[in-house]
Amino acid sequence: MAEFDMILDDINPEDIDLPVVIIGAGHAGVQVAAGLRTRGWTGGIVLVDEEGGLPYERPPLSKDVLGPDETAEGGPLLRKDAFYASKDITRLAGVRVGSIDRGRRVVALDDGQELAYHRLVIASGARGRRLTVPGHDLSGVLSLRTAADALAVRGELVPGARVVIIGAGYIGMEVAAAATKRGCDVTVLEFQDRVMKRVTSEPVSEFYQQLHRSKGVRFAFGAAVSAIEGEGRVERVLTADGRSYPADVVVAGIGVIPNQELAEAAGIACRDGILVDEACRTSDPAVYAAGDVTRFISTFGGAEMRLECLQNAQQQADVVADTIMGRTPREAEVPWFWTVQFDVRLQTAGVMHPDDDIVLRGDPATGKFSVCYLREDSLAAIDTVGSLADFRQGKKLIAAGTFMDRTALADPAVRLEDCVLETAKIAA
């Protein structure tokens, strides 16, 4: 802290007239801009967005935007058009930042403009990892990250189309459900032995596999894609075991890569993400980062991680706004996530680890159950299907680190918040 303050005190007093420049207008970028105004920042705010239109929500892109009768031209707007002008937020849309000159505190835009900053916030997000196998660049091979991507995918999901999805993560599974609802013939290829393995346990994977299968989705597990073939356009996907899957369209959902290149080129410390401290400061105290692009030490569990979720983007944005204004940020919220597939919502609080003990609450066959993840007897994470009550109570218990009673947990008739160990009750 002390050395940061010293460095910051070196700012030329004239610089305080300079704006906060924000790179990226996803949830994090827009929330920093809005949050600064809410907190009384009176200086300039410039939001640089390489996409052309108004900033929009991303979670619906792989859900409602792909709906059967949907005609929306993108995600719902994060803020209405008039909001930015009314808050004196300057939006530069369709412009890329070419480089950051930290010495001069200036960012250079691709159109030749230079923007001097008082503070810089990098909220450049992440991009979908691209396939590298032969044929990855054939027409009809798509991924989904932006509104334009979503519209391209939707345009291909016509009744009867043979859709091969590579990767059974959240995005792959959401697209599989949407494509099926639109009348497509869907096959999901997954390298692991079950769906959503990185983020959830076997009972939840099994539940969603069954749900998808009941609607006609086919799965191939242990499937390593080796090539995509076709004459100018995709016709089939080949896997290492010699199988061939006919395809009119391929959608790859194989993870994301943080957009850290600008920061890296400017000498800001990065390691699979821009490294930030608990105040979202990068290794340059005048430069902050927020959202999917960051890597940080979690308040819950102490592990170093990137968190690709809306909640983290919003929270880090609030931390940035607080820190720029010299305020103490509010306590960190337990991370949480959701996915909706065939109208069935999985809502998760906390981040599970494969070594956690799991306790199943309720019978998945009823469509209403939770999986508790225990680490040294404390609740570390919870997956809930059809049980938002468990989700909300679970989130509080994770934050509190309370010791849990495994026998009680296994009984869905006992409220989650009543499943704490007797000794913990006494201590409380």
């Binding site: 809410t38 979670p59 909001f83 938002l388």
Partner: protein, 108 residues
Amino acid sequence: MSVITIDVIDREGSRHEVPWEQDQVLMEALRDNDLPVLASCGGSASCATCHVFLPEDVYPTLPERSEDEIELVEEAPGFRPTQSRLSCQVHYADRFDGMTVTLAPEED
């Protein structure tokens, strides 16, 4: 576009006059006018950070809560059966002009 004005009582008990435009849900009107509404799910009825109390005479005139909203709001601090709504689920109507909306307590 129509705009109405509502009275909003924040968590400290202060009163604010807030313009509510036709194309906004109540959460957006609150958030865009700098009231401390986190709306951490972006308005998809996945959290309860936009929980508000509506006047008892207005509450019954609204469409019923969805199952998700019921579960979320019933677990929210300060839940009032005949007043609690997630403001992201409350759509604009001219007849709300002049109504008083109270921000519910935040989670502990």
